[in-house]
């Protein structure tokens, strides 16, 4: 399907206006893609075009602008449906982001189906967004939150997971790719095992959606959540894929306009999927521009991007290992282009400040995974994460800047 041509990274870079800016007098080297990806001109243009040409509220207006806006909004839903391999656009709910999607499920599904003593399983690698909503609903329902342990390398202990599963297991919510370490979890197996115990499974796809080929039907997950801004789309829009029968069995998350069929003061009947879960005027502009982000990925092909990013990861990993006292956290084979490391005697914050002065944007700290950092016995890491537009030269600049920073610090 994808042509194996030459990967023209300069042509890709040319599509991203921000990449030509300077930071503190130096060329920006943006290596914080796991936090958010930069936006191609097509995404920025889609936003401008919407507001300049057909801004209107969707679904009920009978005028031309409303028609055009509705068509573009629903076209985005179809694009997302194809992007994740859902069987119908009705299974695609637009949310604010991954966090919002997980909260929707925890609240709506949890409120209806969790009972005292039921168990929810998450993993040690989870982002706070896939911990806190479950803690909240577990506390409310007197359910029990259980955590799959990991090895010192960050690999999930699948034997421990198997032993946790049982008749009490009602829900399993795990991250597909660790945002802090880049490790790819064996979610197919997790889903298969959980389903043997009739547990419902949510996959946090915040990191995997941009790097891996996602087909929710092949994966077999019941829910899949991700954010638009990490797949080159705008901020403020996210997706919840949910299996139709499950979504239909769940009560609405929020009440208001859009989500109703009929409202009387005595009663209200709810709209059908997916509108039941999209109360109020949605984030029309960003949803529409999300399609441009997906189209950008399709125009290069995930496979080609992945091959390019793997090259960057491999090169960076080898170069980083040459630095004395540096230890890569989660140095395993099966990972995406995220590289997290610590250096003896160096606080990540010091490193981030000095790297920023050299135009290099990386992420440092706990990456919103405090329990994971605690488990690994570190305060945080420095994380470089690569995207379609990064180059080997940029990896080289990172290494040079790191060496210079270390000279200053040690």
């Amino acid at each position: 399907m994808e042509t194996e041509g030459i990967y023209d990274v300069q042509a890709i870079r040319a599509q991203f206006p921000i990449l030509s800016r300077k930071v503190k007098g130096k060329d920006l080297v943006y290596l914080d893609n796991a936090a958010t990806a930069q936006k191609p001109l097509s995404v920025i243009d889609a936003l401008v075009h919407y507001y300049s040409h057909y801004n209107a509220n969707i679904h009920r207006g009978l005028h031309t602008l409303a028609d055009e806006a509705t068509a573009a909004y629903e076209a985005s839903r179809v694009a997302v449906k194809e992007f994740v391999g859902a069987s119908s656009p009705d299974e695609i709910i637009f949310t604010k982001g991954t966090t919002d999607s997980i909260n929707l499920v925890a609240y709506s599904w949890g409120k209806s189906f969790l009972q005292e003593g039921d168990e929810i399983i998450i993993s040690s690698l989870e982002h706070h967004a896939n911990i806190v909503p479950w803690q909240m609903i577990a506390a409310e329902k007197k359910a029990i939150l259980r955590v799959i342990p990991i090895s010192d390398d960050g690999i999930l202990d699948m034997e421990a997971f198997k032993s946790m599963l049982g008749p009490k297991t009602k829900f399993v919510s795990v991250v597909h790719v660790s945002n802090a370490l880049g490790i790819i979890n064996p979610v197919e197996e997790i889903i298969r095992l959980a389903h043997q115990h009739n547990a419902v499974v949510l996959i946090d796809g915040a990191q995997s959606s941009v790097h891996l080929d996602i087909d929710v039907q092949t994966l077999g997950c019941d829910f899949y959540a991700f954010s638009g801004h990490k797949i080159y789309g705008p901020t403020g829009v996210g997706v919840l894929y949910g299996r139709r029968d499950l979504l239909e069995s769940m009560p609405p998350y929020q009440g208001g306009g859009e989500m109703i069929k009929e409202v009387r003061f005595e009663y209200t009947t709810y709209n059908e999927l997916p509108f039941k879960f999209e109360a109020g005027t949605p984030n029309i502009a960003d949803v529409i521009a999300l399609k441009a982000g997906i189209d950008f990925i399709k125009s290069i092909g995930k496979h080609a991007i992945r091959k390019h990013e793997e090259q960057l990861l491999e090169y960076a990993t080898a170069k980083l290992k040459d630095i004395a006292g540096l230890r890569i956290i989660g140095d395993v084979k099966n990972k995406v282009s995220v590289i997290s490391f610590v250096i003896d005697g160096v606080h990540p914050q010091d490193l981030a400040i000095l790297l920023d002065n050299q135009g290099i944007a990386v992420r440092t700290g706990h990456h919103c995974t405090q329990p994971l950092m605690h488990r690994l016995g570190i305060v945080g890491t420095t994380r470089a994460s690569f995207a379609a537009y990064n180059t080997l030269d940029e990896v080289e600049l990172l290494i040079q800047a790191l060496n210079k920073s270390l000279k200053m610090l040690l």
């Binding site: 503190k24 606080h347 990540p348 914050q349 010091d350 981030a352 400040i353 000095l354 200053m408 610090l409």
Partner: protein, 149 residues
């Protein structure tokens, strides 16, 4: 008391020192050096009680008062922040409580470090200053109460 340097005096000296630095490297090397030279804080004060929680690094500040002047000691697990602790101690150590409470500390904006260091979330410099001023305020109230007695 004639050789007492006010907060304003010390701020001006720092502004003069920093104006000699031509590159960002020199500024940060100065801070790193300051961080390395800062006397270590007694572990008895490296506790939650004295901790100022920033987003990424920990800062501890301990203060005491003597003859109406307030003295500070502090530490951080990050060396640049440790340098900042040292910088703030240089400015505020041994000053009258009232002066500390009222100091606008404008030098931070002038020495050209503020852009990434002043943000509350990244390092808690603002939180650090707030804590030092609160400490000074507490010593001030303490002293006034004693006068009343």
């Amino acid at each position: 008391m004639n050789n007492h340097r006010t907060i304003k005096n010390i701020e001006q000296e720092l502004i003069d020192d920093f104006s000699l630095f031509e590159t960002w490297e020199e500024k940060y090397e100065y801070l790193i050096d300051l961080g390395k030279k800062l006397a270590p804080l007694d572990p008895a004060f490296k506790t939650e009680e004295y901790k100022i929680k920033g987003c990424q690094s920990s800062v501890w500040i301990h203060s005491f008062a003597k003859d109406g002047f307030v003295y500070f000691e502090g530490d951080s697990d990050a060396i640049i922040v440790r340098g900042l602790v040292g910088l703030m101690i240089t400015v505020m150590n041994g000053q009258p409580a009232k002066e500390i409470v009222e100091a606008p500390l404008e030098f931070i904006n002038t020495i050209g470090l503020s852009s990434h260091l002043a943000q509350t979330r990244s390092n808690g410099l603002r939180a650090m200053i707030k804590q030092m001023k609160m400490d000074a305020g507490a010593w001030q109230v303490n002293a006034e109460n004693k006068t009343v007695e």
